[in-house]
Amino acid sequence: MSGVPSKKLLFISRHAPYGSSLAKDALDAILAASAYEQQLGLLFMDDGVFQLLANQNTEQIGQKNFSAILPVLPLYEINSIYVHYESLIKRQITINELVLDSVQIIDSKAVCSLLAQQDQLLSF
C-alpha cells in the first residue's frame, strides 16, 4: 500500500458490545487500520453507544470488557472519536457515564456532514 495517498476512513460502530461480536470486530479493524497511515475516525451510533458505558462488568458472560479496551484507542493515535447525540438520548445515557472523555458528541446533522467528508465508510 506504500505510495497510495492517505484517505479518510470512518469506522461506524452500531452494535451493542455483547450479544454479537461485531462491536469487537469493528474495534479490531480500526486498531489494524491504525498501522496504515490513513486518516481514521470512529463513530458510535445506535446501540453502538452502549459500548461506551463505563463500569461494564463481563465476568459472568466470559467476554472481554469494552470499558477496559476502549481507552487504548488514543494509544493507537485514534483521536477522532464521535458519538451520535440522539442515540445517547434515546438510550438515556448521559455524557458523564461514558468511559472515554475525549469524544465529540455530534447531532444527526453533524453526522451527515461527517459522513459526506469521508472517502470510505466501514460500517459495523
Partner: protein, 130 residues
C-alpha cells in the same frame, strides 16, 4: 469504477450473504472491477471446503470460486475470524497441529490490513451483513 466488498454475514443464515454475491456478479457483468472480497465475522464460513448444501440450494463456496476464477477476484478471509471459527488453510493447520485444513481453493487467509487496503485502493467499499 473499482469496488471492494466486505461481508460479515454467514452464508445461509442471512440474505446478506446472497445479496453480496449477486451484487458482485452484477458489478462485474456491467464492466466494473472488483478488487477484493473480504470475508469477516461469520462470513468466513463461505470459504469452507466442507460446505455441503443440498442440491436445490445455492452453493456459495462454489459460487465465489467460479466468480473469482472467471473475473480474477481476490477472495480474502480474515485470519483471526477464521481461526477461532475453525477455518484453516494447510499452513495454519500445521502451525496449530490440527488434523485437517478446510479452506476452499481460491480463497486466501490474511489479516485485517487487507480490508484497510481494499478501502484505500477502491473507489467504493460496500458492506453486507452489519
Amino acid at each position: 469504477m473499482i469496488f471492494s466488498i466486505a461481508i460479515y454475514a454467514a452464508p445461509y443464515s442471512s440474505q446478506a450473504s446472497d445479496s453480496a454475491y449477486r451484487f458482485a456478479l452484477a458489478l462485474l457483468e456491467s464492466g466494473n472491477s472488483l478488487y477484493r472480497v473480504f470475508f469477516y465475522h461469520d462470513a468466513i464460513h463461505a470459504a469452507s471446503s466442507l460446505a455441503t448444501p443440498q442440491q436445490d440450494e445455492s452453493h456459495y463456496t462454489q459460487n465465489w470460486q467460479q466468480l473469482a476464477q472467471k473475473y480474477n477476484v481476490d477472495l480474502v478471509v480474515c485470519i483471526a475470524a477464521a481461526l477461532k471459527r475453525g477455518l484453516l488453510n494447510e499452513q495454519e493447520a500445521a502451525r496449530y497441529e490440527k488434523h485437517a485444513a478446510n479452506l476452499a481453493e481460491g480463497f486466501e487467509i490474511s489479516g485485517l490490513g487487507q480490508l484497510v487496503d481494499a478501502a484505500v485502493v477502491s473507489d467504493r467499499l460496500i458492506t453486507f451483513g452489519s
